[in-house]
Symmetry: C2
Subunit: 293 residues, 2 copies
């Protein structure tokens, strides 16, 4: 598969603390119909580490069954190498086109430990892997040197970098990694910065719930029209603002899904909670103001 | 049970990526024979979040079967409230005397979410709970206000505070929480600071592998002789130094266990690794120098 264009990361909505399969399938179908370039099932937005192995395999089967011709990239992160290997096997059996791996930690990891994880997993894969650098959730920070070492392993297809210093990082890494590996930007508010600095793909939370809004940005960037891409992104500033104010995009997007009837009440795994009161009203206002519904 | 004295936290050594039951039982028996006041099974040092529900229930059964009259406190932390409730039930079925709960996170938690977790769990318990404040691994920082709110919930027996500013924190909290709740210090190098500032219990990694060395400190502190307690602690400075140098006590203690034949090779769950080369030799030197074996 190609790691290019818009890779959309849907929520995994719960109902009574179990995956709401009906809501999940609807989210996947929405992305297929919109024509995103790939679907990131069980990414951070899809709360992958909160589900059991069985629940994850089930979610991935639903995703591949309903994604049509759109490729599915599956999050396979876990604390243990053993579990990651099992999850990689399950994901491939479920028919995914690629896997996404972040070095999830409880005890902080060393660079050597993270390298050993990626070496063990890529050795066993039949599909390409996207390296997921997400220090906000994993509390591990990749050095450029480590990413370059990992880029030499087999089956590496893409590297998903976080928004902090993304343009500088992309500019540094791009000439030093094989052309077959794309760089991808995550952090929706910084997407245009990353795409204009050499990232070939946008790993997008926005795209998981509002694919049309994300595709407008992605299509403009792919056409090389970064002025238009930036104008589309700037128009969404009220959304970027509330995501920042409420600790990231997860709670805002999950709240938006509830407000739009795309998820039932309390759609995040407890103890995580969607927004209430004034914060919830702000999300509703932004959806209306930006005509995101 | 009383949360007082020395609570010793053993490793959960692996062999071929499964719990090494023989080695684990030996560590538990070592603590029983030494006469520690309680055993913290599946604490952070026991790598609780790296094991499946079945593996955790099994480890707790082994701990209670081999701990004699010594109370077992079981770590029940997990990302989801649902899983924590299951683990609490399993732990009680395994016969533990208390549970230990840290707000494990992937997506960062809000204070309200953490309170809701403790409220849900304490409502269901038949044994007391120790609140585990460990920002280094959970990436959640408790405010004093949140700890005071949680202290009002039923079944709270102790609060385990981290070493940073522990004396000031203990002095602030002690007069404001019920006398039935003890404060406990973790972070071995800061134990005497905590014990002399009103902590009634030491949650100790050192004690999990070297109970005699930890009991010398604990007994002196319990007798009110903090000068002697500090002298015992100061004598261990080379050990505190290597723990600091190698990113915390886990890898040092696991390496020490391997060197002493108390665990087989590669006793940590991959991708975590014990120390090699010069670092490993330093651990061996410190063990010999301090006559810890």
């Amino acid at each position: 598969m190609d790691f290019t264009g818009l890779s959309a990361f849907p929520l995994s909505p719960l109902r009574d603390e179990r995956l709401d399969e009906t809501a999940y399938v609807k989210l996947i179908e929405r992305l297929r119909v919109a024509g995103v370039d790939s679907i990131g099932a069980l990414g951070s937005t899809g709360c992958y580490p909160y589900f059991s192995r069985t629940e994850r395999a089930n979610a991935l089967r639903l995703a591949t069954e309903h994604s049509g011709a759109v490729s599915v990239i599956a999050g396979i992160g876990a604390l243990r190498t053993r579990d990651v290997l099992w999850l990689a096997e399950d994901a491939q059996k479920a028919g995914v086109s690629a896997v996404l791996l972040a070095p999830v930690s409880y005890h902080g990891l060393t660079e050597e430990e993270v390298f050993s994880l990626f070496a063990a997993v890529t050795r066993e894969l039949s599909v390409p892997l996207c390296v997921y650098d997400n220090p906000g959730t994993t509390h591990f920070t990749f050095s450029d040197e480590l990413l370059l070492r990992i880029a030499q392993l087999p089956n590496i297809g893409s590297i998903k970098i976080p928004p902090i210093s993304a343009p500088e990082r992309a500019a540094r890494l791009r000439p030093r990694i094989p052309q077959s590996i794309t760089l991808g930007i995550s952090g929706d508010a910084s997407a245009v910065d990353g795409l204009s600095a050499g990232c070939g793909v946008w790993y997008s939370v926005l795209g998981g719930l509002f694919p049309q809004a994300a595709l407008a940005i992605s299509h403009a960037a792919q056409a090389g029209d970064f002025t238009r891409a930036r104008a589309h992104s700037d128009a969404l500033q009220p959304l970027w603002d509330i995501c920042k104010r409420y600790g990231g995009s997860l709670r805002v997007m999950a709240t938006a899904a509830e407000l739009l009837g795309l998820a039932g009440a309390s759609c995040l795994p407890a103890p995580l909670q969607t927004l209430t009161g004034d914060a919830r009203r702000e999300v509703a206002d932004v959806i209306e103001q930006l005509r995101l519904a």
